[in-house]
């Protein structure tokens, strides 16, 4: 078991996501930054589907009760293993009783902690990803425990990875959304020339930005949305749906982020600049 001594700001268990229930209104959930998690799981030689911890902004303090191996990735946080600093994308052996804790956030917003074999939190509707009310809790609380399987022998093929970081990227590549053609020339100009800044309203459901574009009075019937869908409200506000985003919506879907752009945005926090670029 992994025991949560201090929960931190917002830590959850996430895997690839919860599929095949979107037609019942269930968000797909899953890790926000798939690219970083792919590297974490690769180093541990885990399946792609292995569940990891998604650690947002302020990290937790964790006790590992069984031996295993861990890898951190994604955001850079000052993390320690028994008070000694540890780095991202490097395999660390864990003894029973070891304590991993997280300090200052240096760059990015979401750090991932992978464990050999993945965390084995209960699967509900095919996924271990936290999402209330599908799962009982929506994030770690002090004293929570999460299961993983004891792993004594593991000889990683690669013990460390130098990765090209995208944490400083500000350009989000986008495709045209279904309502793209309804945008006026002025709105298009605004969308692709302005620099937008991430608003306080940003979480696993959606990211909003401070700047608005020209308002509209277009109406549409409620229709499907995806993680990465950029909705435009009548007031000209942009809402970028993320992994816990609703599965349908009634605002024009003007842009659709690429998979990589979702990862880049997942590492942004309030005040960070972003630009949209059409592919």
């Amino acid at each position: 078991m992994l025991k949560v001594l201090k929960a931190g700001f917002y830590t959850t268990v996430q895997d690839e996501g919860r599929f095949f229930y979107r037609n019942k209104g269930v968000p797909v959930s899953g890790v926000m930054d798939e690219m970083s998690v792919f590297k974490v799981n690769s180093l541990l030689e885990n399946e792609r589907t292995a569940a990891v911890l998604e650690i947002t902004m302020t990290g937790p303090t964790l006790v590992f009760e069984e031996e295993t191996y861990i890898v951190l990735g994604g955001a850079k946080m000052l993390a320690t293993l028994n008070n000694l600093p540890i780095q991202n994308y490097k395999v660390y052996q864990i003894e029973a009783g070891d304590i991993v804790s997280f300090g200052k956030l240096v760059k990015g917003f979401r750090c991932y902690l992978g464990v050999k074999g993945g965390f084995t939190a209960k699967k509900i509707l095919g996924s271990r990803s936290y999402y209330k009310p599908i799962t009982e809790s929506n994030r770690f609380k002090d004293g929570d425990v999460v299961a993983y399987e004891y792993q004594q022998l593991f000889q990683p093929k690669i013990s460390e990875l130098k990765v090209a970081s995208f944490l400083d990227d500000t350009i989000l590549h986008v495709c045209k959304g279904p309502e793209f053609d309804l945008l006026t020339d002025r709105q298009l100009e605004e969308l692709f020339s302005k620099t937008f800044t991430v608003a306080q309203e940003n979480n696993r459901m959606a990211y909003q930005v401070h700047e608005t574009i020209t308002p509209h009075n277009l109406s549409m019937l409620t229709s499907a949305t995806l993680p990465g869908t950029v909705q435009l409200t009548p007031a000209g506000k942009l809402i970028i749906l993320m992994k816990d985003g609703q599965t349908t919506g009634g605002y024009p879907r003007v842009l659709q982020l690429t998979d990589k752009a979702i990862c880049i945005l997942a590492q942004k926090r309030v005040g960070n600049p972003i630009n949209f670029k059409l592919v």
Partner: protein, 245 residues
């Protein structure tokens, strides 16, 4: 009947959207569902494809692969020509109990005052209609119901509630619905349904499908309490009637 024209649009690298004319119309919804059946039997199914129908659209999303939009558009157009009368979809009418007691019908008086109708008439009109499920979204198991009596059309509340109870039965504009779980919400709450619309512990967490019909019937507080307990232990089954069988 001639099938109405469709528009097929790319929706990012993993999805494609098929759109019908912009209208809330049961015939169009039926065509969308028939088309969904055809697609499902032609390989647009697990483990790669998911479909989300809603009002006048159907989204196909491939969770694993990027899709070739040009090729897929041609395929989808071709399948659309196969639409025929024999592809009847299987649909159900669900009869759901609602308790309109003042304990649950928080906005009954306000709605009655706004619309100048008695509470008894609100209940009679709400239970007297048959509703169509045009979409499921917003929250897990939240149904977008069409078919509300025009006389019950009332604006959303000026200030939304921070917390609407699970099972709350609401109306807003032309829409009716049930909050499948506790959530913030701006609809006018007129009662509560003790039957859970969404239950994550079940393999099929939501018994309702888009295209199904819903009717409400009034129950007493005592019956509400009983059904609530029955639902909690899993022995209450809502009344279900097969349509167009």
């Amino acid at each position: 009947m001639n099938s109405p024209k469709i528009k097929i649009k790319p929706f990012g690298v993993h999805a494609i959207l098929i759109e019908w004319p912009h209208t809330v119309n049961e015939q169009i919804l039926e065509i969308i569902l028939q088309y969904q059946v055809i697609l499902q039997s032609n390989g647009f199914a697990d483990p790669d494809w998911e479909m989300v129908p809603s009002y006048n659209s159907l989204m196909l999303v491939n969770r694993k692969h990027e899709i070739d939009h040009n090729k897929l558009t041609l395929e989808l157009e071709n399948y659309y020509t196969q639409l025929g009368h024999k592809d009847k979809t299987s649909k159900f009418l669900w009869r759901l109990p609602v308790c309109y007691d003042q304990e649950f019908g928080l906005d009954l008086q306000e709605v009655g005052a706004k619309l100048n109708i008695s509470i008894a008439d609100i209940i009679a009109m709400h239970t007297g209609a048959q509703y169509t499920v045009f979409g499921i979204g917003f929250l897990p198991g939240f149904m977008y119901l069409g078919g509300l009596n025009e006389k019950l059309e009332v604006n959303r509340k000026v200030s939304p509630r921070a917390k609407v109870e699970k099972g709350a039965v609401g109306i807003a504009g032309k829409q009716a619905g049930i909050y499948p779980q506790e959530s913030p919400g701006g609809w006018n709450i007129i009662g509560n349904c003790p039957v859970p619309i969404f239950d994550a512990s079940k393999e099929n967490p939501c018994f309702v499908n888009v295209g199904d019909k819903i009717e409400f019937f009034e129950i007493s507080r005592a019956a509400y309490k009983l059904h609530k307990i029955e639902a909690e232990v899993g022995i209450y089954q809502p009344e279900k009637i097969q349509l167009n069988a």
